[in-house]
């Protein structure tokens, strides 16, 4: 049986078997605790630059179906699982995960003790790692991994944003803009039920956006570090410039962008929040949310600022949502569009519609 290895920068090696596309991959090793939704995660642009580990040991059980994709292709650089399903349930067409990875030229590794790996990540924080089938390369890989900059140190957003402005007409009365930092198709889907949408590349200046007749802007999720210099100059600046002109709604990376645009700071979490069971407290109530982020807004950095932290994570107290004191601006660190995950907070899109209509929170 062929062997494959997941090598971490601390020198630990997890043996497994290769599946998917037979190649090697390097990335940040992160884990997600969602028990379903592997296809949505793989195709979520926020996983750009990362090797995804699923804590659920059986992956691929219900196969692959185009309707679950969150973008045109897989963004994760690799997938590490305990077991992938070779003979999925036929309910959704029966295409295999293996085939999906192959077509996307993404390697997978199976048969590893993912729980052991997760405990390591939880203890040490996110690690850089590589998938390789070349046993002889392991030692040199470890050295390389140590030297290598984290994927988030490059401008990952540039790799996943759309290449030009796109206008969609969904037969609605109002048009909003979507600043695409690597947005999931779920966001566009939920917007399309309420608005006509114009999608802008992440580096579109505010003036260009306000030229089109849009009544509000949603800043999407996306991969990497929101305080990357290339982001500060583009999306963050756009958000700052838009803030006094149109209502803003930031999701995930977009929430961090709003935080930065309003003068706050972000930081990297030890190992991030990735899963579909994160409790968020909002107005005294608890909502179960879908999350995928490695960076967060530093709540303390907002002291004396016009942004208020109005939502927090029940588990660790981190910032989950912001609201502007005066302007029609609000955000969520989690994904109200779900896909994967619970749809309990989809009311945020209704709220955006209300804000857009009324011009205030």
């Amino acid at each position: 049986m062929a062997e494959s290895y997941l090598v971490l920068e601390d020198g630990s090696v997890f043996e497994g078997e290769p599946f998917g596309y037979r190649t090697s991959a390097v990335g940040e090793v992160v884990f997600s605790t969602g028990m379903s939704g592997y296809q949505e995660s793989l195709t979520d642009p926020s996983f750009r630059g990362q090797i995804l580990v699923t804590t659920y040991p059986l992956i691929g059980n219900y196969g692959i179906n185009d309707s679950f994709c969150q973008s045109g292709h897989i963004h994760a650089r690799g997938l590490a699982v305990r077991e992938y399903c070779k003979e999925p349930s036929p309910m959704y067409g029966g295409r295999t995960l293996d085939d999906f990875l192959r077509c996307n030229k993404v390697p997978g590794i199976s048969g590893i003790d993912t729980r052991d790996l997760v405990i390591k990540i939880r203890t040490m924080g996110t690690l850089k790692g590589a998938i390789t089938e070349d046993k002889d390369r392991i030692d040199s890989l470890v050295k390389e991994l140590k030297r290598m900059p984290a994927p988030s140190e490059s401008n990952l957003v540039a790799e996943v944003t759309c290449d030009r402005i796109q206008e969609y007409d969904f037969g609605k009365d109002t048009r909003v803009g979507l600043l695409d930092c690597g947005g999931k198709s779920g966001i566009l889907r939920d917007l399309s039920q309420r608005f006509n949408v114009t999608v802008f590349p992440y580096d579109t200046p505010a003036d260009v956006i306000t030229e089109s007749k849009i009544r509000g802007v949603l800043i999407s999720n996306g991969p990497g570090d929101p305080s990357h210099p290339a982001i500060l100059k583009t999306a963050a600046k756009t958000a700052a410039d838009l803030s006094s002109r149109v209502p803003l709604f930031g999701i995930c990376f977009g929430s961090q962008i709003v935080g930065i645009a309003m003068g706050g700071k972000t930081y990297k979490l030890k190992f991030g929040h990735r899963g579909t069971n994160q409790p968020v407290k909002y107005d005294g109530k608890v909502y179960i949310t879908s999350q995928n982020h490695g960076f967060a807004v530093d709540g303390d950095s907002l002291d004396g600022n016009d942004l208020i932290v109005d939502q927090t994570n029940v588990n660790d107290g981190t910032v989950e949502g912001l609201r502007h004191k005066n302007l029609p601006i609000f955000t969520s660190q989690y994904h109200p569009e779900a896909s994967p995950g619970p749809t309990d907070t989809s009311f945020l899109f209704d709220r955006f519609a209300k804000v857009v209509k009324e011009g205030h929170l």
């Binding site: 804590t55 349930s89 036929p90 409790p279």
Partner: protein
């Protein structure tokens, strides 16, 4: 924030019955502890003494009283209860609560229901209301109509459009009386039955979603409308098989995230619509063809599924539900598992959980084994693995049905097809067999309506078998086999090697299990839970912590006939006693319903099968000092010798009575010899290896004789035979007799009084915990018999003799711990029937009735204490009566004769306790579900030898105003002796009036029928007994039983009883 209540009542679920097992002891106990911790004063009521919740440590005031609205109201009044937790005692508690609400009693007493409100009970139970509610929130339910007659049912089917349709009675347990009707004739039959079972005489006729997939969601909601899902579950068996009868896995494995979220969202809508503050279970049918779904059922309370979900995820549903019920919100309740997070989150698990039901068909050979909408299983097991295959194979091994895994089964192709289409308990093995014969998985999926995903998982298992058979057994192959959950025993079977040989090579290859933690969060947070399962992987999370002494208690496995919740009670008491002595207590068990598998009971919990391999693995991983096998019923005892052998020369010891001495008690020859040496009389006996030999023995001993095969225990296939002819039938039909399978023959002592003794010994002294006199004559299995503590007819001499005999036996067997002895008294002579060197079914009963916790004391003795340390010796009588009565599954299992025999048939038991004997009998009999009439008619038909003794009973009944019906012989005798009777025809005469007709007309409310002493006569009354079961007419088969019942009926008529808490009885 929590609300102000002075005193809260928790209602338990009563005896173990099909559809309601140990899960409610687990949830009720959690709820009590949870409320106590909040400073509330608690009152617990339950009629089942074999529960941890009825321990005085669990609640402040404990009542062992019948679970009836009237008794519960008395307790509420007496204690000044101001809040009743309705959702912790299953359907029983809900029914009592809605009865008290409907009758206005709650209002009168100034009590509020907390958790589940009467409106929610009604909305989920009343099908029309349920339908309306779901319509209001836009959730689809199957087309249906509630009906109250067969005629209406036929009309309803016309509206629905086509057969088959489901028939569901309202307000019943575990689907009692329901069914699937494929034609108008079937509809009429099932409907009539269902109407009879329904508390409100209503059944629902419903569109069939047969063959659709079935999913379940466990939901929790608090007063601020925060809602979470604890666990999703997928039934492997499609709609048409009750979820309690299905193999279930958690989480859902074949649903896309999108569809999972659709069902999740629907579940949240439901719990909001029902306005439940607490837990709730929602069941869906899902059409795999087009993704349509229907809401099938909602349980507005904790349930067996929620117990499973709790164990499957580590999320303590009952504990949290209790806190939510008193007003806390989920974010105010800490998650004890992680210690750092709170209860407001959805558990993420990183393993596969499989639940498999345990059916009683090994005991009830005449029952139809087909699975359907009515529950037949008595218990279940849960298994955890990192692969589906591992979880499933562990599960099959946990069932204790002799399966080493996915074992072969002898079936023809036609039989397999039949089995796949119309499932029995054997279907899983039939699928394995079909795959061994290279049937296409798609074909199997089509026949079974399973998702082919699961069939392919079984194919992986069969494929691995083949690889192992082909060999050679390399380290890689062995490792892969272990990944898939193959046991050493199974690999040994396939490779024709011994299990110890496989174990040796495995260990030499360094292939050992690792232990993973159940932590609710898929390792996202650091957790401190002591809850583990075995798997094969890279690293183990169990760290050997040296220092404290560690003792492993072997659990009792699934609940089945003969092994109930009593053993779990003993295991839990064992744990408590170890902890009191500063010893670290480790539990291995696989029953998700029980208190012993609650993660905060023991210091370490291992959720694994109980086989030598698994137990030895835990012993090694934990570096265990001692093992207790006495508390796990036969499960533990069966392991004793194997363990001792494997542990020879190691530091780990089997604690208590030595396995060799246990073997003396188990081995008939060794035991007989010991009794002879001790001069203790035994019924004459012998062992025959062929029919001829058995016949000769029986003739020399003299009929009637008790016969049973030697290789099964627990009264299986045991019968009393009265003649050579009957013996012949028995040998031909019930058992195989051969050189390897001899038959044991015992003299059957007719009309002897049977006695059960439970004792504790430290090897030097013996303490007689209790002597219980059976009300039925010897020959009725002690698990089924009605027993009275202390003896109510025995002379002081006999009692002294019983004490002396028990002491002699205990000392001779060098008992260290518990001993149960069964004796018979005939003509003032004491006979030894059997001795069981382990915890018996009656240990909790005695412990409750006397106040002496036998299992705890026994545990401490195993650790080295003596009886003297507790000031215990000899025998002391109590100054009140405790009566144990059994409950039977006859209603749910047509085909089982309700006559009591040496084979155990009951599923559970209750206790009636009072200073007055009649009141204690009344409490026990009513708690066991007997509807003792206050007026009406009594049918008496007794054999000749009983006529004289039944006379005073008949007189008393007549005095109480009952009309006595009797057949000619009995009638004439009674009339001659001054009792007025109405003579009726024998049933066989086919003339009216006869008993059957009168029963149907409701004119007979009690039956006293003592069959004549031959089994032919026993069978004759079958029709009448069956009808009595269906109409729930109390049926007494002994004069002693009738005598006790008459006293109880007087109490019933006058309602002249008071309730008394266990705190108030003067204990020893």
């Amino acid at each position: 924030m929590k609300k102000n209540y002075k005193k809260l009542m928790i209602i338990g679920s009563g005896p173990i019955i099909i559809g309601q097992a140990a899960e409610f002891d687990f949830s009720g106990t959690q709820a009590c502890r949870s409320l106590k911790e909040e400073g509330y004063s608690t009152v617990l009521v339950n009629s089942n003494p074999a529960t941890i919740q009825t321990d005085l440590e669990t609640a402040d005031r404990v009542y062992i009283e019948p679970l009836q609205a009237s008794a519960v109201a008395k307790i509420i009044e007496k204690e000044g209860v101001d809040g009743v937790l309705s959702g912790m005692g299953g359907q029983t508690a809900l029914n009592i609560c809605s009865e008290l609400a409907d009758s206005g009693e709650l209002k009168r007493l100034g009590v509020s229901l907390i958790g589940t409100q009467p409106e929610a009970i009604a909305m989920s139970e009343d099908r029309e209301l349920f339908k309306e509610t779901m319509k209001r929130i836009g959730e689809p339910v199957p087309l249906s109509r509630s009906v109250t007659s067969v005629r209406e049912a036929v009309e309803a089917v016309k509206e629905i459009g086509k057969y088959p349709v489901l028939v569901r009675p309202a307000y019943t347990l575990g689907g009692t009386g329901g069914g699937i009707a494929h034609s108008e004739q079937e509809l009429a039959e099932i409907c009539a039955r269902g109407l009879a079972y329904s508390r409100i005489h209503q059944v629902l006729i419903e569109e069939s979603v047969l063959g659709w997939k079935e999913y379940e969601y466990e939901v929790m909601r608090d007063s601020k409308d925060n809602c979470i899902i604890i666990c999703s579950m997928e039934n492997l068996d499609a709609m048409g098989i009750h979820t309690g009868e299905s193999i279930v896995c958690a989480p859902c494995l074949t649903l896309s995230d999108k569809d999972h979220q659709r069902l999740r969202t629907a579940s949240l809508k439901v719990i909001k619509a029902l306005n439940i503050e607490g837990g709730c279970n929602v069941q869906f049918a899902f059409n795999p063809e087009n993704g349509d779904y229907r809401l099938i059922e909602v349980n507005p309370r904790v349930s067996r599924s929620s117990a499973l979900a709790s164990k499957a995820t580590g999320y303590p549903i009952a504990r949290v539900a209790a806190k939510v019920a008193v007003g806390y919100t989920l974010d105010e309740i800490p998650n004890e598992i992680t210690g750092t997070t709170c209860a407001a989150f959805e558990p993420a698990i990183d393993y596969v959980v499989v639940k498999i039901p345990r059916w009683p068909f090994d005991k009830f050979r005449t029952v139809d084994r087909h699975l359907g909408t009515q529950m037949k299983s008595t218990g279940e097991i849960m298994a955890i693995g990192r692969t589906f295959e591992e979880a499933l194979l562990k599960g099959l091994r946990s069932l204790e049905i002799g399966a080493k895994g996915l074992d072969s089964i002898h079936m023809t192709d036609a039989e397999i097809t039949e089995e796949l289409t119309d499932a029995t308990d054997r279907r899983i093995f039939a699928i394995g067999e079909a795959l061994r014969r290279d049937w296409k998985p798609e074909r199997i999926a089509d026949l079974t309506k399973w998702d082919v995903f699961f069939v392919n998982k079984l194919r992986n298992i069969v494929g691995m078998e083949k690889k192992i058979k082909e060999g050679p057994l390399t380290a890689d192959l062995l490792k892969n086999a272990k990944y898939l959950g193959f046991s050493d025993e199974k690999i040994a079977e396939i490779t024709c090697r011994s299990e110890s040989d496989i174990r040796k090579s495995r260990l030499s290859m360094g292939i050992v299990p690792v232990y993973k933690m159940v932590d609710t969060c898929a390792a996202e947070f650091d957790a401190e839970t002591p809850y583990f399962y075995s798997s094969y992987g890279r690293s183990s999370e169990v760290k050997k912590d040296h220092g404290k002494k560690k003792v492993l208690i072997i659990g009792g496995g699934p609940i089945r006939i003969g092994q109930g919740i009593e053993f779990d009670y003993c295991c839990v008491h064992g744990v408590m006693a170890l902890q009191e002595e500063g010893v670290s207590a480790v539990i291995i068990n696989n029953n998700p319903e029980t208190v012993s598998t609650d993660y905060d009971i023991s210091d370490r919990l291992y959720f694994d099968p109980i086989t030598p391999e698994d137990v030895l693995n835990v012993i090694e991983a934990e570096d265990i000092d001692g093992v207790i096998v006495q508390y796990g019923g036969q499960t533990g005892v069966n392991l004793a010798l194997d363990l001792e052998k494997a542990l020879a020369g190691k530091k780990t010891a089997v604690l208590g009575t030595s396995p060799d001495k246990m073997d003396v008690a188990e081995d008939r020859r060794r035991f007989s010899k010991l009794m002879d040496d001790l001069g203790i009389r035994q019924p004459k006996s012998g062992t025959g290896y062929s029919f001829e030999e058995v016949k000769d023995i029986a003739e020399s001993i003299g009929y009637p004789v008790l016969v049973r095969p030697s290789y099964v225990l627990g009264g299986r296939a045991m019968e009393i035979v009265y003649s050579t002819e009957e013996l012949k039938t028995y040998v031909e039909t019930a058992v195989k007799v051969s050189r390897n399978h001899p038959i044991l023959v015992d003299k059957y002592l007719t009309e002897a009084i049977e006695i059960d003794v439970d004792a504790v010994s430290d090897g030097k002294d013996v303490y007689i915990g209790g002597i219980m006199e059976h009300i039925e004559y010897a020959g009725c299995h002690s698990g089924d018999a009605t027993m009275v503590l202390p003896p109510f007819t025995l002379s002081k001499d006999i009692i002294d003799g019983v004490v002396r005999t028990s002491e002699k036996v205990a000392l001779a067997l060098e008992i260290k711990g518990l001993l149960n002895i069964q004796l018979a008294v005939k003509d003032n002579e004491i006979y030894m029937i059997e001795a069981n060197p382990r915890a018996s079914r009656t240990v909790p009963f005695i412990s409750k009735a006397t106040g002496i916790p036998l299992a705890k004391i026994s545990t401490k003795i195993m650790l080295g204490k003596t009886l003297n340390d507790f000031g215990l010796s000899g025998y002391r009588a109590i100054d009140h009566y405790a009566v144990k009565a059994s409950v039977f599954p006859f209603l749910k299992l047509p085909g089982v004769d309700s006559i009591l025999t040496p084979e155990m048939k009951s599923t559970g038991e209750v206790m009636g306790i009072d200073k007055d004997f009649d009141v204690a009998c009344y409490k026990a009999l009513t708690a066991a579900g007997n509807r003792l009439p206050a007026e009406g008619g009594v049918y008496i038909t007794v054999n000749n030898s009983d006529k004289e003794r039944v006379l005073p009973v008949a007189k008393e009944l007549a005095e109480m105003g009952f009309r006595i019906y009797a057949t000619k012989g009995t009638s004439t005798y009674l009339r001659e002796n001054g009792v007025e009777t109405t003579t009726v025809f024998k049933i066989d005469d086919n003339m009216k009036p006869n008993a059957i007709g009168l029963m149907r007309e409701g004119r007979i409310n009690l039956i006293i029928n003592t069959p004549s002493q031959k089994s032919g006569a026993v069978r004759d009354g079958h029709k009448m007994r069956r009808l009595a079961v269906e109409l729930e007419i109390p049926f007494l088969t002994t004069v002693q039983g009738a005598d006790a019942a008459v006293g109880a009926m007087r109490v019933a008529r006058d309602q002249s009883f008071s309730v008394m808490s266990m705190n108030e009885f003067r204990m020893l």
